[in-house]
């Protein structure tokens, strides 16, 4: 991948990431996140990890982000009000941000300078090498993850089945009729 393309994609990814935290409307945040994820997927493809890049787009953008969209619609999230001006929140938030910034700058200034272009092994990022990792080198971790996901699926179904009776009889709360988050003033 030529350098200018890398820089172009990296800038888009960072803009998308800023969009996620700076937008007030949850759907706009979600779209910015989807843009970032697609962009990182394209970066993967450009750097030779084609399988990983396309899987990233299929799984994160094609499935998980769509579920987020559903959650935002069904939970009827509104425009975020201005950040809560709670003093303790601001205090600990600043400390956390400062710690993260310090950590990043330490890593940035201690990083090894790039001494040359590393050669990529021929199987890098291929389906075969990915499958070998998942199904032989890290088989136990992979299977444990699948059991975790299965448990989550079973839990979700159990919760959904228990909720149906309650949802039918509960009284609507105030403002529930509003289907879509609407910007005030527009």
């Amino acid at each position: 991948m030529p350098l200018w393309l890398f820089i172009f994609l990296a800038v888009i990814a960072i803009c998308g990431a800023f969009g996620v935290i700076l937008q007030r409307n949850p759907v706009h945040c979600l779209l910015a996140l989807a843009l970032t994820l697609i962009d990182v997927g394209v970066l993967f493809v450009g750097l030779g990890a084609e399988t990983l890049g396309f899987l990233q787009i299929i799984i994160y953008v094609g499935a998980i982000m769509v579920l987020f969209l559903f959650v935002i619609w069904l939970l009827n999230l509104q425009i975020e009000p201005a950040p809560n001006a709670h003093l303790a929140l601001k205090f600990f938030g600043s400390i956390g941000a400062a710690a993260l910034a310090a950590e990043l700058s330490v890593f940035f200034f201690n990083a090894q300078p790039v001494s040359g272009v590393a050669t990529i092994p021929g199987t890098y990022g291929s389906v075969e090498s990915l499958a070998r990792m998942l199904f032989s080198d890290y088989l136990v971790a992979f299977e444990v993850t699948s059991i975790l996901l299965l448990a989550a699926v079973a839990g979700a179904i159990a919760l959904a089945r228990r909720m149906t009776g309650a949802a039918l009889t509960r009284t609507p709360v105030e403002g529930e009729g509003v289907v879509r988050a609407r910007e005030s003033g527009s």
Partner: protein, 370 residues
């Protein structure tokens, strides 16, 4: 370098234009074909100053669909409802069309064209894992309709958008399972290699097309693909009698035309995928790179340029055939009920796809991977 770039650009533009033209013609075929099926006359009014009539040509309604209708649509008022999200409302139609069009980039429309010493692969792009690319672009196709429904600030549109999203992610699972079973059977994720593997014959006469080794996947892909294009019998997101027009209720003029174009481009996409995976893509029966080898032993030598052009023609003929099948189905079957749709997707097609995948994997391991 420059000439390679030029060739790539020409290939990409030609493929996109072919798809767009075919989509437009499908719209005409849908109107006139449905009229034939239902014993109506159909589109027959518009003509340019009656020229065709004066020359004695039959008025088949091409002017209505290909000239009068687009002019009408693109000169209409571009309406954005009050309180709508203006940016997303304008973005949504293009977000719907774009992923469909870029999918065609990896579809092989022919084998290799030799001009002088240059060998041109007849596909716009060839990532090694193009089947995954197809699944990725199908996955992002949801956003256009979902956001179109949401950004319109209309309850019907939102309901249509939610239905469309639910339907598309449900049936994408089936498409994924069908593609993966096919990938397991061929042992490659590359569409061009799949087409090559479908060359040759069994028993001396039967073309080695994928339909013969993956018939279940073919049915799954065609059914789920039709559900992806959101048309009858799967048109719940648009259901006119319940939701006005579903997610594009609040769209008019050019943007609505783009949504309509998306539906037809998706029909072409499904046909192209079915052709590539199960009907040999550009393979012509008994045609090899050096000419025809007929079952009887007869041989007809052909130059490369003729073979390549025959391949391209075969590819588009097969594609048009499946477009025609889909339009026939659309005008034959009644609409599903919503619960029937979900039951078919989750309790019918997904388990069938999983079973097909398991059986395919067992057979491939037993026979020995290619």
């Amino acid at each position: 370098m420059a000439i390679d770039l030029l060739i790539s650009a020409i290939k990409a533009i030609v493929v996109v234009l072919m798809v767009l033209n075919l989509s437009g013609l499908l719209l005409w075929f849908e109107r006139k074909g449905s009229a034939l099926i239902q014993d109506r006359i159909g589109a027959n009014r518009a003509a340019i100053f009656g020229v065709g009539r004066r020359l004695g040509l039959p008025n088949v309604g091409l002017m209505n669909t290909l000239l009068a209708d687009p002019i009408k649509l693109f000169t209409k008022e571009d309406f954005v409802p009050n309180g709508a999200d203006r940016f997303l409302h304008s973005l949504a139609p293009f977000l719907a069309l774009f992923p469909v069009l870029i999918t065609f980039a990896v579809v092989p429309i022919g084998d290799v064209l030799e001009i002088g010493t240059r060998r041109i692969n007849l596909e716009a792009a060839n990532p090694g894992v193009s089947a995954l690319y197809v699944m990725a672009t199908l996955g992002i196709g949801v956003y256009g309709v979902a956001l179109g429904g949401w950004a319109s600030n209309n309850r019907w549109a939102l309901l249509g958008g939610i239905r469309a999203t639910a339907q598309m992610i449900s049936y994408e699972l089936t498409i994924g399972l069908a593609i993966i079973a096919t990938v397991v059977a061929y042992g490659t994720l590359n569409l061009q290699q799949m087409c090559h593997l479908q060359g040759g014959v069994w028993f001396g006469w039967l073309p080695r097309w994928g339909i013969l080794i993956q018939p279940v996947s073919f049915i799954l892909l065609l059914t789920a693909g039709m559900a992806e294009s959101k048309r009858v019998p799967f048109d719940l997101p648009e259901g006119e009698s319940e939701l006005i027009a579903g997610y594009f209720t609040e769209y008019s003029g050019g943007k609505q035309a783009v949504f309509m174009m998306t539906d037809f481009a998706e029909i072409v996409l499904v046909s192209v995928l079915v052709t590539t995976f199960f009907f040999g893509g550009w393979q012509v029966p008994w045609l090899y790179p050096n000419g025809f080898h007929f079952p009887g032993g007869a041989h007809l030598g052909l130059p490369n340029i003729v073979v390549a052009i025959l391949g391209i023609i075969a590819f588009w003929l097969k594609t048009v055939f499946f477009c025609w099948i889909q339009i026939l189905i659309r005008w034959t079957l009644p609409r599903f009920r919503y619960d029937q749709l979900m039951r078919l997707g989750w309790k019918g097609l997904v388990p069938l796809g999983l079973a097909n995948l398991v059986v395919t994997a067992f057979v491939v391991v037993a026979v020995g991977a290619k």
